[in-house]
């Protein structure tokens, strides 16, 4: 039985991908899990694996084509199987990308003509051919692959508007952040709609950053709380631990911070959350995103369930994912599903800074350098290691007091780092 391979959804806000290169030709044998093609998304170049074994019977998309998510790109089947390619599939491969990404009657929306004289029922019946939705709602639904006919509109006359779409997306988000989903299926993950960049001069990554950061900074009301941590104990402990570890397994200050943050977040579920229109979604899992500088931008790799992982596990995982990110080849699940992010500029001798929240997360921690500074203790000035960190918080979700308490609680782990080992 022949199987259709579709353009996978490889990122939370991926609407389309560029098929950069086919790695298999028509007629070649392919095993399930073999790399079929390279796809460029907003974030990175990603390899697409075949979900079936057999012979590549048909490549439906040309190299360089921009293809919407879930559009068929190839057919894998038995060598002697009769393959019928529908005109719908073919039309996608031959159309220029700008046409493909627009709504067209061929591209899947229900456009059966309305029965004459039946206009009234067409509005009432959600299954009818005309769905009342605002242009914005239609666009976002198209980008997210949502079926409008299954969404309840709350606008005038039952019109589907942005908040209705956001509600559906936040419900999906709720599902996607459950542990079982995090480990496997990136395509379910969903984020609030983002404004689509229209500039082509930017790289895909830059576009994504520009879009998401502008959206975050203009739509999320940020507030900031800064705290200074005593780092003497942590630095000493790190030196001690690293003495036992081979070079490639050494633990960074940031790994300590990831674990400390994860443990603290367990105590502050409201900061491990997302704002979703009329409610706040508190995530079950603590997935800590770590900003990694890559060429032309940054990527957030995600340490899943960081609160239940050991320091060594965290160190190994982050090291692997960061290396992949810098080489421009990350696995979708490595950049997916974070619930709280850390941005650490400590290696650049930064005293302190504030970061922009990575939506739909509720907060991000910006970490400066650990610096030796004069400190006063018991009336005496002496040298001490101090590190400042600033948390940026979505004010719709949380308030200053809670953020301050979080920062204080974080001190418990950073200043008594043995807690991180138990």
């Amino acid at each position: 039985m022949a199987e259709t391979i579709n353009m996978p959804k490889l990122g939370f806000d991926m609407a389309e991908g560029t098929l950069v290169r086919w790695l298999k030709k028509e007629g070649e044998t392919v095993a399930k899990g073999d790399v079929l093609a390279e796809i460029e998304t907003d974030k990175a170049t990603v390899e697409v694996e075949s979900s079936a074994s057999g012979v590549v019977r048909k490549l439906l998309v040309d190299e360089g084509a921009v293809v919407p998510v879930n559009t068929p790109i190839a057919i894998v089947g038995a060598a002697d199987e009769v393959i019928s390619v529908s005109s719908e599939q073919l039309s996608v491969s031959s159309e220029p990308s700008s046409v493909v990404s627009r709504p067209s009657p061929v591209a899947g929306e229900q456009t059966a003509p309305m029965p004459a004289g039946d206009a009234q029922s067409s509005i009432v019946n959600p299954q009818s051919s005309i769905v009342k939705a605002s242009p914005l709602a239609k666009r976002v639904a198209r980008e997210r692959g949502l079926d409008l006919s299954r969404i309840q509109g709350t606008g005038p006359g039952g019109r589907i508007v942005r908040r209705d779409i956001e509600k559906v997306i936040s419900e999906q988000l709720l599902v996607s952040s459950a542990p079982s989903v995090v480990s496997g299926q990136p395509s379910v993950a969903a984020r609030p709609p983002s404004v689509e960049g229209e500039t082509v001069a930017l790289t895909k990554l830059r576009q994504a950053i520009a879009r998401r950061m502008s959206e975050a900074k203009s739509s999320v009301p940020h507030f900031y709380v800064t705290h200074e941590y005593k780092m003497d104990a942590l630095l000493a402990l790190r030196a001690q631990i690293n003495g036992y570890l081979p070079e490639e397994e050494k633990v960074s200050v940031n790994d300590f911070i990831i674990r400390a943050v994860a443990l603290t977040l367990r105590e502050f579920p409201n900061l491990n959350a997302s704002f979703a229109g009329d409610k706040v979604v508190r995530h079950g899992a603590v997935n800590v995103g770590v900003a990694v500088a890559v060429e032309g931008g940054l990527l957030t790799v995600v340490c899943k369930d960081a609160d239940v992982k050991s320091l060594r596990q965290i160190a190994a995982e982050v090291k692997r994912m960061a290396a992949g990110a810098r080489q421009g080849k990350v696995r979708p699940e490595d950049i997916e599903g974070s619930t709280f992010s850390i941005s650490n500029l400590g290696m650049f001798d930064v005293e302190n800074f504030a970061a922009i929240i990575n939506p739909p997360e509720a907060a991000i921690l910006a970490v400066g350098s650990a610096r030796q500074v004069p400190v006063v203790e018991e009336g005496q000035v002496r040298a001490g290691w101090r590190m400042k960190a600033t948390i940026s918080v979505d004010h719709r979700v949380s308030d200053g007091a809670e953020a301050a308490q979080f920062m204080q609680a974080l001190a418990k782990y950073l200043e008594e780092p043995v807690r991180l080992l138990v």
Binding site: L136, G155, R162
Partner: protein, 324 residues
């Protein structure tokens, strides 16, 4: 920066430009000895003399025709129409001559003319003296149409208009001469054809200008008390129309209300709404609404007149409707 009235800002712009450039002169009904019907040119006649502050007969064709002729031979006339309603007596010059002479003669001519005119309702002057027919004039390519809503913009835009080599219709609102605001002293120019965000907000975009700005700012304060943050984009120039800030705002808020004092039919709101739909259709989350004058000639009776003109509650109601 001084806090001065719209009247003072306009007067300052005129005075400074006349001091700066001897080719600038004013002509119109009662601009000289009287000091301007709205006292904008008070003191000018004594300072600049009768040649540069030229009183004219009540003859709009002669005023505007002579101004165009003088502009053709290198002067920078500022022709004052006592009210925009009198432009209809000389419509030929405003829409048929000044905007066309350059194009029609293959680019040989320049018409560096400013027509200042007062418009607007709310003063119980009856139907023929109370109009806000801005959209009519903005219809014609070749003419620039400017209508400021703050003293600062009035000064900066008028100075630019006087220096423009193209004909500019500068529309002032009769009930706004007392509006006060910070205005930079001395040299201060604002380019014609640039809209401006006069109040930031995230929930809804109010597009307006002139008197509509004054009303919309008040409406936005009311709405803020209920947690609705309206972003106000002031067009400032109706032609050429700068849609950039409007579209940017709309793409953020996805909802818009357009406020104008003129009649709704074929008006500024119609134009702006059409352009939003043309250029940002996929960002619309609700129909774009318009607040405008009722479709009647303005009545004399104060209650009826106020009912016909757009008011703050009309704007707050429209915003709430748009947010449904």
């Amino acid at each position: 920066m001084a806090r001065i009235t719209m009247r003072e800002a306009i007067s300052q712009a005129l005075w400074e430009e006349m001091e700066r450039d001897p080719a600038v002169f004013i002509l119109g009904e009662e601009v000289g000895v009287w000091g301007g019907t709205y006292a904008v040119t008070k003191g000018f006649y004594d300072h600049f003399g009768p040649e540069r502050v030229k009183d004219t007969p009540i003859a709009e064709n002669a005023i505007l025709g002579a101004a165009i002729g003088a502009a053709l031979v290198g002067l920078r006339p500022i022709a004052e129409l006592m009210t925009i309603n009198f432009a209809f007596s000389a419509m030929d010059y405003v829409v048929n001559q000044a905007p066309k002479l350059r194009y029609m003669f293959g680019g040989q001519f320049k018409v560096p003319l400013v027509i200042r005119a007062v418009g607007g309702g709310g003063r119980q002057l009856g139907a023929t003296h109370s109009q806000t027919p801005d959209a009519v004039f903005a219809h014609f390519p070749g003419l620039k149409v400017v209508s400021p809503g703050t003293p600062e913009d009035a000064k900066g835009l008028l100075k630019t208009a006087i220096r423009s080599d193209d004909p500019v219709l500068f529309l002032e609102h009769a009930t706004m001469y007392q509006v006060r605001g910070e205005v930079p002293e001395g040299e201060y120019l604002i380019p014609i054809g640039q809209s401006k965000v006069q109040r930031p907000g995230r929930d809804v975009t109010i597009v307006t200008y002139a008197k509509g700005l004054e009303l919309s700012l008040k409406a936005a304060d009311e709405l803020a008390k209920e947690g609705i943050e309206a972003e106000i984009v002031d067009l400032r120039t109706l032609r050429p129309l700068d849609m950039g800030p409007v579209l940017e705002s709309f793409k953020k808020t996805n909802r818009a209300v357009i406020v104008e004092e003129g009649w709704r039919s074929y008006g500024v709101g119609a134009e702006v709404a059409a352009r939003i739909y043309e250029e940002a259709f996929d960002y619309a989350d609700a129909p774009i609404l318009r607040v405008a004058q009722k479709e009647v000639p303005l009545p004399y009776n104060r209650t009826l007149e106020q009912a016909a003109l757009p008011q703050v509650p009309d704007i707050t109601a429209a915003v709430k409707e748009a947010l449904k």
